[in-house]
Amino acid sequence: MKAYIAKRLAWTFFATWVTLTITFILMDLSPISASGAEFVDQQVQAGMDADEARELYEEQLGYGDTMWDRYVNFMVGLATLDWGLSTTYNQPVVDVIANSWIYSFQYVFPATVISVVLGFAIGLYSATHQYTREDYAATLFAFTGISLPNFWFAIMLILIFGVYLGWFPIFYSTEHGLLSLENAHQLVLPVVVLSTSAIASEMRYARAESLEYVHAEFVKTARAKGLSEGQVTVRHIFRPAMVPLITILVGDILGLLFAGGYVIEVIFQIPGLGLVSYEAIIQQDMPLVLATVLVPVFIAIIGNLIQDLCYTILDPRIDFGDR
C-alpha cells in the first residue's frame, strides 16, 4: 500500500510536469500578444523606434535567452510562486489568484456539497423505487436540469427573483463581509444555478450505479438477515455503488463547477477565479490566463490522486500492491 501511494505520488508529479511543459511550449510558440502590441504602441508614442520597443518587450519577457533558459525561468518561477505580473490588475498573478479564489470557493463549495448529498440521495431513492411516480418525477427533474443552459437559467432566475419579485440582488456586491448574512443571501441564486445541473447529473449516475445492486443477491441475503430497508439501502446498495461513483465524482464535479463557474461569475459579477480568467482572456493577459488554467489542472490532478487512494479503501478487491 505504501509503495502504491509513493508510486501514485510520483506519477502525480510527472503528470504535473508534463502539463506544465506542454503549456510552456504552446505559450512560447504563440506570437506577441495584444498587451505586447499595446506596450510597443506606448513606447512608439513616447518616441522610441518600433523595432527597439519590440525588442525591449521581448527582453522583458525573457525572449533574449534561449528557449531552454526561458523554460528554466518559467519552471523555477512556477515552483517559487513567482507567476509573473498581471497587466490587467497591475499585480503579481499570485496575488490576484489569492484575492479571488475565496469568491469562487464561497459558492462552489456549498454547491458541491448540496449537489453530491442531494444528487446521491435522490438517485438512491429513485433506484430503490424504480418506475414509481417519484422516480419519474426525479428523472424529469434530472433531464430538465441537465438540459437547461446555465446562462439562460441564471438570467431567468435574476429576472424572476431579482427584477420582478425583488427577493434577491441582481448582481454580486463585494461590500458585504464574506461571512455575513447578506453575503449568503446574494449567493443563493448562484448556488441554485450551479447545483441544479450538478444535482441532476449526480442523481442520474447515482441511480444507474445503485440499480446495479438493487436486485443483487447479497441484497436479498441482507433482507433475509432481518435488516431494515434503510440499512439494506445504505449498506448493501449505496456502499458498493460508491466505488464507481467516486470515479465520476471528481472529474464530473470539477468540470461542471469550473465550466459553470465562468458563466455564473460573469453573469452575477462575482470577482472569483472564473471572472478573473474570463477578463484575462479578453485582455490577453497571458500570465494570468496561464495561472487560472493551471489552478483547476492542479485540483484535477490532486483530485484524481485522492480518488485512486479512495478505491483501495472502498473496494477491498482492488489491490494495487503488485503494480
Binding site: 436486485h215 443483487a216 443477491e217 447479497f218 436479498k220 441475503t221 441482507a222 433482507r223 433475509a224 438477515k225 432481518g226 435488516l227 431494515s228 440499512q231 449498506r235 448493501h236 456502499r239 458498493p240 466505488v243 472502498l314 473496494d315 477491498p316 478487491r317
Partner: protein, 343 residues
C-alpha cells in the same frame, strides 16, 4: 403427527404483475413442515419452488410480486397478515435463508465477519466484541478452518464452497428454528456438494432445526429429506414421506421425474415443456405431458390432494377414491370412450 406444525402453508398464491400479464408463479400451494424435519421441495426450473420459499418471509420483490391469497402460519401466527416490522423480526432470527449462488450472496465490500455480525446485531442485544466472538464460533461451527483470522477476510478471498459455508453461518447466526435453503448446492461442484449436504445433516442433528430444502436433484432428496413436496407449474402434485415418494410414487409427474434419474432403466426424458404461467391450462397442469391423461384431466381445476395410505397425498384424478393406481396405458383411451359415452 398430532403436534402443531412449525410452518403451515395453506393455499398460497403468489403472482407477479408483469407487462405480459399476471404470472401465477405459485398458485394454491399447501404443505406443512414439522419441528425437526427436513422437507424437500422438488420440481423443474420454473415450477415455483423458489417463489414459494421466498413467499414465506416475503423476500420476493413486491411489487411486482404479490401474495394474492392464502396463509403462511409460523408457530400458529399468520405471517401474511403481519406488519413489515413483524416479518422482519422473523427473518434471520426465527427463519434463516441460504441461497443458490454463494458467489453473489455475499457483499464484496464487507468482511465476512461484518456480514455475520450484522445478522447477530440486528436481532440480539450484544456488544460488537461479543458479536465478533459469536461470528468466529459460527465460522468454526460451519467448518471454516482458522476462523479467528478468516473472520476479517473479504468474500473474494474464499472459494465457492467456503462462501456457502459463510452464508450458512449467517443463516444460523441467531439460532433459527427453521432454515430455508434454496438450491444451496446447485452452484457447487460435486465433492463440495457432498460436504455441504453433510454439514446440513450435521447441523440439523445438532440444532434440531426444521429445514426446507429446495432442489431439482432427486439424488439430493433421497439423501437428505424426511418428506417431499413435488411441485409443477405453481401447484403441488404430490407430497409424502421420502419412502413413499421414492418407492411408491403416485403422480405420473413424480414417476416421470424418477425415470429421469440415471439408473438401471436408462434415462427417460419427459416430453414437452412447462405450460404457460400467464395462461395456465384448464384441469391438471401436467395433462399436456401426461401419458395417463383422460378427458376429465383437461377440464376444470387442478384436482385436490387426495389422501393415500400413510403419509402420502397426490393431486391426480386417478386416485380420487383414496387408493387405486394409475390405469394401464392401453386402457387410457378406452376410459375416455366410456366416459365420453356417458356424456
Amino acid at each position: 403427527m398430532t403436534e402443531q406444525p412449525l410452518l403451515s402453508i395453506r393455499d398460497l398464491k403468489t403472482h407477479f404483475h408483469t407487462d405480459d400479464g399476471v404470472v401465477k408463479a405459485v398458485d394454491g400451494v399447501s404443505f406443512d413442515v414439522h419441528r425437526g424435519e427436513t422437507v424437500c421441495i422438488v420440481g423443474e426450473s420454473g415450477s415455483g419452488k423458489s417463489v414459494t420459499s421466498e413467499s414465506i418471509t416475503q423476500l420476493i420483490p413486491m411489487p411486482p410480486g404479490e401474495i394474492v391469497e392464502g396463509s403462511v402460519y409460523y408457530d400458529g401466527n399468520d405471517i401474511t397478515t403481519m406488519t413489515e416490522d413483524g416479518v422482519r423480526s422473523l427473518r434471520g432470527s426465527q427463519i434463516g435463508h441460504v441461497f443458490q449462488n454463494p458467489q453473489g450472496a455475499l457483499n464484496p465490500v464487507y468482511t465476512v465477519g461484518y456480514q455475520i455480525r450484522e445478522a447477530i446485531l440486528s436481532h440480539r442485544d450484544v456488544s460488537k466484541a461479543e458479536a465478533r466472538e459469536l461470528a468466529v464460533e459460527l465460522l468454526e461451527e460451519v467448518g471454516i478452518p482458522e476462523a479467528p483470522t478468516r473472520v476479517d477476510d473479504y468474500p473474494h478471498e474464499f472459494s465457492g464452497g467456503m462462501k456457502q459455508r459463510v452464508v450458512i453461518a449467517i443463516a444460523l447466526a441467531c439460532d433459527p428454528e427453521m432454515l430455508i435453503a434454496d438450491e444451496p448446492t446447485t452452484a457447487l461442484d460435486v465433492t463440495i456438494e457432498a460436504q455441504i449436504l453433510d454439514l446440513f445433516r450435521h447441523l440439523q442433528q445438532e440444532l434440531d432445526m426444521s429445514i426446507i430444502f429446495i432442489t431439482h436433484d432427486l439424488g439430493v432428496v433421497a439423501e437428505i429429506a424426511d418428506r417431499v413436496v413435488v411441485m409443477y407449474a405453481g401447484k403441488v402434485m404430490e407430497t409424502g414421506s421420502v419412502e413413499k415418494i421414492f418407492e411408491n410414487p403416485a403422480h405420473p409427474y413424480t414417476k416421470a421425474l424418477l425415470e429421469c434419474l440415471p439408473g438401471q432403466a436408462g434415462l427417460e426424458p419427459i416430453p414437452g415443456a412447462l405450460p404457460s404461467v400467464t395462461d395456465p391450462p384448464n384441469g391438471c397442469r401436467f395433462h399436456d405431458r401426461c401419458p395417463y391423461a383422460i378427458d376429465m384431466c383437461r377440464t376444470g381445476e387442478q384436482p385436490p390432494l387426495h389422501d393415500l395410505p400413510g403419509d402420502h397425498a397426490v393431486s391426480c384424478i386417478h386416485y380420487e377414491d383414496g387408493d387405486g393406481d394409475l390405469p394401464e396405458l392401453e386402457d387410457v383411451d378406452r376410459m375416455d370412450a366410456a366416459i365420453g359415452g356417458a356424456r
